[in-house]
């Protein structure tokens, strides 16, 4: 039995060593990534200057045509992340500030995402390779209930989120395989999809009165002299519980309601996402309202 116990200990030690080596290897790969996604690009970048930085979820990613800002002479990038929540938007801004980005304006899409403070598992995972290399990321995750496992168990984060930062992603990162994430200055255009769901039910959705990460973004902008523009972006015609946007307005008077800036379904790819034409109309309106001297 003693022999077996020693053998078992050996296996445990081997497993721990393998996990440490794999952790180091994967992290090293992500540390040199530059062209796969927005998180890696920001993390591995140096100081940049922007007139406009766009943050938010897919409703930012698919709605703000960054090139239209550039055409007006404004240096812009759409850092909206599909599937992301305010947890990730806030962390993204923190990383930019840590890397000494000089930003004049932040446009934050703040509407449906105000209803929760939870992290978006799949998007938050993209920051995890750097958790040991960034105090900012570490601190941002510190209050999460799985922080200790993610931080202290070697390779655990790569196992837990293998679909996002597992072997396949690491391999493609290592060979510098490009994605379309950074194309169009971060804006991802959607097409008009036939038979798309043009109904949405947000009756049960309520904005949190003091969303922690929204307030965090607001404070960060204030502390760094960044002009903060928070907007609600359009939704299709057939939405139940449209008073959600009124509730947001009540809780956060500074957030501007652009829900009706584009209304017809022909401008939507799905109920919550405009197509490229709709996005262009909407972006034109935003540029006109905030960046055209009158």
């Amino acid at each position: 039995m003693n022999k077996f116990l020693i053998y078992t200990v050996k296996i445990i030690v081997i497993t721990a060593l393998v996990a440490v080596v794999l952790d180091g290897l994967y992290t090293a790969v992500f540390m040199q990534s530059r062209n796969r996604g927005k998180v890696e690009t920001v993390f591995n970048s140096e100081a940049k200057k922007y007139d406009v930085v766009i943050l938010g979820s897919s409703r930012a990613n698919n709605h703000f045509v960054a090139q239209m800002f550039e055409d007006k002479g404004l240096k812009a990038f759409n850092y909206g992340m599909s599937g992301g929540h305010l947890f990730e938007a806030s962390l993204m801004l923190k990383l930019m500030i840590e890397r000494k980005y000089v930003i004049k304006n932040v446009i934050l899409e703040a509407d449906l995402n105000l209803s929760g403070e939870k992290k978006a598992e799949g998007i938050a995972a993209l920051f995890l390779p750097y958790i040991h290399n960034s105090e900012t990321i570490k601190k941002h995750f510190e209050n999460e209930k799985d922080f200790y496992e993610l931080y202290y168990i070697p390779f655990y984060r790569y196992i837990k989120y293998d679909g996002k930062i597992g072997f396949r992603e690491t391999f493609f990162t290592a060979i510098h395989k490009k994605t379309s994430m950074l194309d169009n200055l971060g804006y991802y255009p959607l097409l008009k999809t036939k038979g798309a769901n043009m109904k949405n039910d947000i009756v049960n959705l309520n904005p949190l009165p003091h969303n922690k990460y929204y307030e965090e973004i607001k404070s960060l902008c204030k502390a760094n002299n960044i002009n903060f523009i928070a907007v609600m972006t359009p939704m299709c015609e057939n939405v139940k519980g449209m008073d959600y946007f009124d509730k947001v307005k009540k809780a956060y008077p500074e957030i501007l309601n652009y829900e009706n800036a584009v209304v017809e379904d022909k401008y939507f790819s799905s109920c919550g996402h405009m197509n490229d034409t709709g996005a262009k109309l909407f972006t034109a309106r935003i540029i006109n309202d905030f960046f055209v001297k009158k």
């Binding site: 039995m1 077996f4 053998y7 296996i11 081997i14 393998v18 837990k160 989120y161 293998d162 996002k164």
Partner: protein, 477 residues
């Protein structure tokens, strides 16, 4: 509690410690602990089904004794048929009742008679097909006086409920397992080490091969109408490796875990995809079920004795019943039927026992023939697997039809944002490792075992699929 779960990683060492350090005085204490552990393990799915398991155990225990004690043939027959009917009755109600009720209603509907069947709102108790077959083999063996009835209820209960085999086999025989639980087990380092190798290799098969293949197979099968020939061929291959990795991986873990407790279970898989014909495939795939059907259905039906038609009839019966055992769906029945059709030429030409020897390859034409026959047999199994995997027979037929008619062999991007061909390298590597170790139970033992172990652990950690977790396929049967 799945074998590849964190809960099991905690459960197993605790039971191991208690078994060898606290309850190690006698075989009775060892067996008592294993029963408690097994019942706890089973109740983790649904504690209510524990009553069914205990009832089934008690039924076979009691009827077994009554059959042995029976003074007249009439009395022996009564207890024998009572056990068979109740056992199959439970299986029928839980597993097949809704299927038959719905099929009957459809049949009436096609004849213009409207009927709304009374369906039962029950979930299938996990492992019921396996422990029912345990019990049946035990009672049948007693009836035919092949074995003596077990009078120790604890020992018998352990034979039926032993946790490594409880939910997905292997389907044990009383002649093999009962004698082992009748004696006190002594710890054997070499056996336990073999157990560890099997557990780790089983995990490689499950989380690296099966669960990763599942991602691609699902994406292809679920959208087969938009897939081209190449993707559909790959889909069938991926599913073949998914089901192999899943079930043989489970069996390896079960056998390995059991070795840690000093109990040897029947081998369930013997590198089936290296078979040279379908008969050999069925001698290597789910061996405990194939041999069960051979011994308790095929042979009692007359086996290969009698005329040609009798042989053909018996072959079709065991394959179709075997298919139906897997689940209450016509797709499984057709899968069984197709395998019977594959088997038929071998039966008619009396060549179903041609490939009994181990495969040896040399640099000659015969070896090329062997490799081609392996490839041919694998292709046949892949076609049959399409029926096993598809939601309906129509889907399976359409899948195969499209595979031939699409004639497009370009690389396709799947709905899950992966290319259909991505897994080929990993599968190729896996096949190579298994091929080179086909004469061993698993590839990790032997020379440089510690290094191979480290590589297997690295594969489990780095290449395993965790976020898209899949239950063991055979748990649903």
């Amino acid at each position: 509690m799945f074998f590849n779960s964190l809960a099991f990683a905690v459960f197993l060492p605790i039971v191991f410690f208690l078994y060898w350090f606290v309850f190690n005085k006698t075989k009775s204490t060892q067996n008592a602990l294993l029963i408690i552990a097994s019942y706890y393990f089973y109740s983790c799915w649904d504690w209510r089904f524990l009553f069914l398991l205990v009832f089934s155990t008690f039924l076979d225990y009691y009827t077994g004794i009554q059959i042995e004690k029976g003074k007249s043939e009439k009395s022996r027959k009564f207890w024998f048929w009572l056990s068979i009917i109740v056992n199959l009755g439970f299986l029928g109600i839980f597993k097949y009742y809704n299927f038959f009720a719905a099929s009957f209603s459809e049949l009436l509907g096609s004849a213009g008679i409207q009927a709304s069947p009374i369906l039962l709102n029950v979930i299938l108790p996990v492992g019921i097909s396996f422990y029912t077959f345990h019990g049946l083999s035990y009672v049948i063996d007693i009836y035919y006086k092949r074995i003596k009835a077990e009078y120790n209820f604890v020992d018998y209960s352990l034979f039926v409920s032993y946790f490594p085999l409880l939910v997905a086999g292997p389907i044990e025989r009383a002649t093999h397992l009962l004698p082992q639980v009748k004696v006190k087990r002594e710890f054997d380092f070499q056996v336990a080490k073999e157990g560890i190798y099997q557990i780790i290799w089983g995990l490689v098969k499950k989380v690296v091969i099966a669960d990763t293949c599942a991602i691609y197979a699902n994406a292809i099968f679920d959208h087969y109408t938009s897939m081209n020939s190449f993707s559909l061929i790959l889909g069938a291959i991926y599913f073949a490796f998914q089901i192999y990795g899943d079930f043989s991986g489970y069996s390896d873990i079960a056998l390995g875990v059991s070795k840690l407790f000093g109990l040897d279970l029947l081998r369930n898989f013997n590198y089936p995809y290296f078979s040279r014909d379908i008969a050999e495939f069925w001698r290597r795939w789910h061996i405990s079920l194939s041999s069960w059907f051979r011994d308790y259905l095929y042979i009692p039906l007359g086996g290969s004795k009698g005329g040609l038609w009798m042989k053909i009839r018996n072959t079709f019966i065991i394959f179709v019943v075997s298919g139906f055992w897997h689940g209450a769906n016509w797709t499984y029945v057709v899968w069984g039927f197709i395998n019977a059709v594959y088997f038929l030429p071998l039966l008619l030409s009396n060549s179903n026992r041609n490939n009994m020897d181990a495969i040896q390859l040399k640099f000659n034409f015969d070896s090329v023939k062997v490799l081609l026959s392996i490839l041919y047999t694998f292709s046949l199994t892949c076609i049959a697997w399409v029926f096993f995997r598809a939601k309906s027979i129509t889907d399976a037929v359409q899948y195969l039809k499209r595979m031939i008619t699409s004639k497009d062999f370009s690389f396709q991007y799947l709905d899950n944002e992966r290319y259909s061909y991505e897994l080929l390298l990993m599968i190729g590597l896996f096949v190579l490792v298994e091929w080179n170790n086909r004469n061993k139970i698993e590839p990790l033992s032997g020379k440089s075992s510690l290094l191979k172990l480290a590589l297997a652990i690295a594969a489990i950690l780095a290449l395993g699929t965790y976020s898209d977790y899949k239950e063991f396929i055979y748990f649903q049967f």
